[in-house]
Amino acid sequence: MKLPRALQLSPVWTPYVLLSPFVVLFCIFGLFPLAFSLYLAFQTWEPTSGLTAMSFVGLDNFVFSLQDEWFWKSLKNTAWLAVASGVPQHLVAIPLAVFIHNSFVRSRNAVVGAYFLPYITSTVAIAILFSSLFSTDFGLVNAGLRALFGGEPIDWLGRPENIKPAIAMIVFWRYVGFNVVLYLAALQTIPKDLYEAATMDGAGRLQQFFFITLPSLKPMIYFGVTLSVIGGLQLFEEPFILTGGRGGSDQSGMTTAIYLYRMAFDFNDFGAASAMSWLLFFVVVVLTWLTNRAFKPRGGSA
């Protein structure tokens, strides 16, 4: 079938036609929400009174958020969780990747697959499963701990000081495999002759790890840590399910993402919730920038 010449697209117009469905959706559901959320942060509005009932309140929402005890508490919780789940991911993923890189050939895909599987499964299903594994009297985690170390069963999800470690463990379990894959890819790019030369010079495995492998992995560590920071600061689903959507006893499992969800959908304050989302975004940007600074090579030190 051939269209008449007049109806055929010229190559000049083709890209616009090809891009238009994407761009239309991107503007409506990608860009507009962002702009709108910034606008909303300076308004007071609650959904029952209709869209016309907004009024400008200047910086009130930001002032309110910054004076809100729970907002600060949620930021502290989020920071704690981001560090406690993020740092171990890399401390474990790097040596794991090195082990897999050096010693696994034929079974490599199966092993990597086992570590990666949690990353693609439903957070909700996983969080539900872990709520039962972390149960105080009959949970497998406590049964295992008691078999190994004895002692009293731990009330993981009931006591404020235990909720965060439980959440951090789940997050660690879910994302460590992703990092293993990143580091495996980076390891493959390190030239083999570096190690051969080092062996000739009498460097042992540990020395090779610290003086060749780690420095070569630095760009990937930077990238991986950045992803962990961004991901850790937006934790929502795992703590949401584990604490029944409320943040847990004494709000100790309440991340900022959960708090701003509650601010909007439980407490009906959409303006303050938007202000909080921009404040949290500001934290994400600052921490990403700090990570960048920390990894930037300074004055020739490699």
Binding site: T121, S122, L140, F236, Y261, S274
Partner: protein, 276 residues
């Protein structure tokens, strides 16, 4: 020389990596074991470590408490619709970004890539309000239409077209009188197949697992997708853990099968941004 060190290392590596892999897989094992146990059996001492025979009873409780098959159907429908739209729009857009020159191309691409790094919580509230304004609350299209504007999809498609479809091929087709649309449909799309497969898998899985989206826009239990339906079974006093585990296992099995069939492709696609 470190000869002894060299001999021991691979052996330790096998043990450490192997134990780690077991720890990673154990929760899945227990999810499937618990799916076949009743609530009282799951919470007995010691907890069950082998399969029981309560799978059908659990399924019965699940279908009594939830419109479970309908929830499963919605999950599948939303995931398929989302995948189809994403593949169509992102392949068109990625092709345009890769092989055409047009005004504001670089600025637009930078803008799209910039949103890829935006945290998901930024969109939570405005998305609800837009859906409310459009009258899309409690409608499945509120879940699959926005997702089709996937920055990651555009990135993946553009990357693939740039590296694997030569511009000369498109020029030659044009010289032969092939119309622009049939170049896309008959030349570009077939060549994109591997990338479409990867993006399709990733989109399907993301939609299947999506929790925040349905949490914000879906209202009536019969319109819930699976994750939302399962979470609605959780209650502080009387949670049917056996049924909940059966539901979680049913939500997880399709993913495990997809992963076993295509783990290399999936892993490569999901880490595409990091590993060039």
């Amino acid at each position: 020389m470190n000869a002894s060190n060299d001999r021991i290392a691979p052996w330790t590596a096998y043990v450490i990596v192997g134990i780690g892999a077991l720890i990673m897989l154990a929760p899945f094992y227990f999810m499937f074991v618990f799916a076949t146990q009743s609530r009282t059996e799951i919470f007995s001492l010691p907890p069950p470590v082998w399969f029981g025979d309560d799978f059908l009873d659990n399924l019965k409780i699940l279908t009594d408490r939830l419109p479970f098959w309908r929830n499963l159907g919605w999950s599948l429908y939303v995931a398929l619709a989302s995948t189809a739209l994403t593949l169509l729009f992102c392949s068109m857009g990625g092709y345009a970004f890769a092989l055409f020159e047009f005004r504001f191309k670089n600025a637009l691409f930078a803008l799209v890539m910039g949103t890829m790094l935006l945290p998901s919580f930024m969109n939570m509230i405005p998305t609800f309000m837009i859906m409310d304004a459009l009258g899309w609350i409690d409608q499945p299209r509120a879940l699959y239409v926005p997702g089709a504007a996937s920055a990651f999809g555009i990135f993946l498609m553009r990357q693939f077209v740039t590296t694997s479809i030569p511009k000369d091929l498109i020029e030659a087709a044009r010289m032969d009188g092939c119309s622009e649309l049939s170049i896309y449909a008959r030349i570009v799309l077939p060549l994109l197949k591997p990338a479409l497969g990867t993006l399709g898998l990733i989109t399907f899985i993301a939609s299947w697992n999506n929790f925040i989206g349905p949490l914000i826009v879906m209202r009536s239990p019969e319109n819930y997708t699976l994750p939302l339906a399962l979470r609605s079974l959780q209650s502080p006093v009387d949670t049917e853990w056996g049924a909940l585990m059966t539901g979680s296992a049913i939500a997880t099995i399709p993913l495990v099968i997809l992963f076993i069939l295509s783990s290399r492709q999936l892993i490569a696609g999901l880490t595409a941004g990091a590993v060039k």
